[in-house]
Symmetry: C2
Subunit: 125 residues, 2 copies
């Protein structure tokens, strides 16, 4: 079951967005596999100290995106085929990297300097 063990709340974006991001990244890494059960909405709300409705919003959106499947009464399950996984992987890698590169460019950081900085900070991240 997906336990959200290493999930940490940040405060830059809405909580339900952070939950969606966490699940998507887990799917990309392989830590979350198709067929796995999600932790229940109530349990996750207690675990994160967040309102159940906020979790419901995240799960509902995940279902609308075709990433999880829910049937009333039972736990929700992750359900993604290889094509979906590759689609998620591609879009996340692209968007995250682009926004970092644009930040560096806007700050006038040279390519080599940016790469060197990333290389040096890798282990502490």
């Amino acid at each position: 079951m997906i336990s959200f063990e290493d999930f940490i709340l940040e405060d830059d974006s809405p909580i339900y967005m952070q939950i969606i991001r966490y699940v998507k990244r887990g799917i990309v890494s392989g830590a979350i596999q198709s067929g796995e059960e999600m932790i229940s909405r109530r349990a996750l709300s207690v675990l994160l100290g967040v309102n159940p409705n906020t979790i419901q919003k995240a799960y509902h959106l995940l279902e609308e995106e075709g990433i999880i499947r829910s049937r009333s009464g039972a736990k929700s399950c992750v359900e993604v085929d290889e094509a979906k996984k590759e689609e998620i992987r591609h879009s996340l890698l692209q968007l995250d990297t682009l926004s970092w590169l644009r930040a560096m460019k806007q700050m006038g950081v040279e390519r080599e300097e940016a790469l060197k900085l990333a290389e040096e900070m890798w282990q502490e991240a």
Copy 2:
């Protein structure tokens, strides 16, 4: 005068935050220098198609952070010494890079793969 020429609205974070980020990054790159006049709140609101109060919120926070100075009736001015500039540069580089590296790690991307991806995408960013 700081004209916000290349400023583009994205929709992931609040507009007033994006404005603050834009000014800070400009200071780091040197595109925005201490002593320069800011575009007026009203003019910027027209330029971005955004409510004047939203601009006022951004400018007010920039003043609270000790980045601009305002006197009633005259245009606001950027006012940052070298120490402040270095502080901004350090925190922005650190935070932006850390969040990208964490994203890569959460997706199970190896260090070499991440660096290679960034290198390849540099020009299109």
